[in-house]
């Protein structure tokens, strides 16, 4: 009972459905065709109504910073090389919230951001930067 399209794993660039087309990394959302609920943490059904008819859509990657931190102490030695790295929760314009990397400094709550992807650890992760820096 997979939703249509590829499973949304932007950590593997080959599995994403990004703005650059199938095969590029990108954010995706699943919209319930029955109730309209939008989900980002994807399941093969709608957690609001239980419906299984989901439309998978690429997301624009544009949104607003809801919360932001900078990790100085990474969870593992291999990731410590990247520290400090910023982590933000972003409210996407399509109505879902997602976690992304961001610059470790200079990202304010409320700032409009756009999303690219960058290598981190074993794969790619979404990376948001303020619109006015892009």
């Amino acid at each position: 009972m997979r939703p249509d399209g590829d499973p949304p794993d932007w950590t593997q660039s080959s599995a994403g459905k990004g703005p650059a087309g199938k095969g590029s990394a990108g954010l995706a959302l699943a919209r319930c065709r029955a109730c309209g609920h939008v989900q980002y943490l994807r399941r093969p059904f709608c957690p609001a109504c239980g419906g299984e008819d989901l439309a998978v859509e690429p997301a624009s990657g544009r949104g607003t910073v809801y919360a932001v931190t900078a990790v100085a102490r990474a969870p593992s030695p291999d990731l410590q090389a990247f520290a400090p790295y910023g982590i933000a929760l972003v409210d996407a314009e399509e109505g879902f919230r997602f976690m992304a990397h961001c610059p470790a400094e200079g990202v304010a709550i409320g700032a409009p951001v756009r999303t690219t992807f960058r290598a981190f650890g074993a794969g790619l992760v979404p990376f948001v930067t303020p619109e006015d820096l892009s």
Partner: protein
């Protein structure tokens, strides 16, 4: 009605050479001794989990190890909320008649039993495996996100005062992990961990164990009674949190108070989960024990001190007595019982007639509230 008739609490800190089962056994033996009971008088056993001793059946592993033959056994996993969830479950089972005397026990060599890297990595796995963990967040990072939002809405300069208070309390508590005095400036100058949180905003990783005996009320066996118990679970992952400023704590606490037939102004002692300064600030404020944005200021003004209007975590809390996993929050209940009995030594407050206890698990996602009435 159920009563807490026995408490057992080990020192928290670095306790090398002791395993999960050793720490559980020490706490359990102390609780039985405190309750004046033998092993054979226990018919129910409830345990938590241990990251250094992962097992499908920790409750019966412990029953065999310690020498119990319970007619009811159960291991519960609810993150930091587990300690009070165990107590709530024991309360419900005793009330239902499913068991008469329940031993609630937890322990973990979380500090000595693994490297600090391993501990941090294990805990970070509570993030979503696809959408969060690959980004390299840590538990402090999840709480750093929460703290950033709090700072945005209320300002965050004062929350260091909560760490200072917990350290002052721990200095008077035998067995506390961290007792060296600190000031708000020390907290604000400590090493950055996950902005805006710094090292002294975070609880330590400790070894330790805690246990209780919870049994059906019997006039011959006095002890504080559990008058209300409630939970709320709003989400699991921080990315899925409905809000980072309003969690389920207020709802859970309000239902526990209503069940006890009391109101917040009746409460004279607070035992509130304090994994980070921000956790404690948010829980105090959402429960209604401080106005929004004012928990740190009230701490500075002495409101939450042992001599203040609402004594809070007088043993030093997770921030300074220490945090050994499931047993961490159980120390809050052990201290509440000591305060009610008048056994808190140098930190004794006027024995409170009513106390409110609140634990959270995950990233403020799972909540358990208890109302305890002094049964001296």
């Amino acid at each position: 009605m159920s009563r807490v008739t026995g408490i057992g609490l080990t020192p928290f800190g670095r306790l090398p050479g002791l395993s999960t089962l050793d720490l559980m056994s020490r706490a359990a033996a102390a609780a039985l001794s405190d309750a004046g009971l033998e092993r054979r008088e226990i018919d129910g056993l409830i345990t938590g989990y241990s990251t250094t001793h992962p097992h499908l059946m920790l409750s019966t592993v412990f029953a065999e190890h310690f020498g119990l033959h319970p007619t009811y056994a159960h291991a519960v996993q609810l993150g930091g909320a587990t300690g009070f969830a165990l107590v709530m479950l024991a309360h419900l089972l005793v009330e239902s008649g499913a068991a008469r005397r329940i031993l609630v026990v937890a322990g973990e060599n979380r500090l000595s039993g693994q490297s600090r890297d391993a501990a941090i990595q294990t805990l970070a796995q509570v993030g979503h495996p696809t959408y969060e963990v690959p980004l390299g967040p840590t538990i402090p990072a999840y709480y750093g996100l929460v703290a950033s939002r709090y700072a945005h809405e209320h300002g965050i300069a004062d929350i260091a005062e909560l760490a200072v208070l917990m350290r002052m309390n721990a200095a008077r508590t035998p067995g506390a992990h961290l007792t060296e005095p600190i000031t708000a400036a020390t907290v604000r100058d400590s090493k950055p961990i996950a902005a805006p949180l710094r090292l002294l905003d975070c609880c330590p990783v400790s070894d330790g164990g805690a246990a209780f005996v919870i049994e059906r009320a019997d006039p011959a066996r006095p002890g504080p009674s559990i008058r209300g118990a409630a939970q709320a679970h709003t989400h699991q992952h921080v990315s899925a949190a409905p809000s980072l400023t309003s969690f389920g704590a207020g709802d859970s606490a309000a239902r526990a108070l209503a069940q006890a037939g009391v109101a917040l102004p009746d409460i004279r002692y607070a035992a509130i989960y304090d994994s980070f300064t921000i956790t404690l600030a948010i829980l105090l404020e959402e429960i209604g024990l401080a106005p929004r944005g004012a928990a740190g200021r009230l701490a500075r003004e002495g409101h939450f001190s042992a001599g203040g209007a609402m004594p809070l975590n007088t043993h030093g809390g997770l921030l300074s007595y220490g945090h050994c996993g499931v047993g961490g929050a159980m120390a809050h209940l052990a201290e509440t019982v000591r305060q009610m009995r008048g056994q808190a030594g140098a930190r004794q407050v006027a024995p409170p007639p009513l106390a409110l206890l609140h634990g959270d698990g995950g990233v403020l996602s799972s909540h358990v509230s208890l109302v305890l009435e002094n049964g001296r």
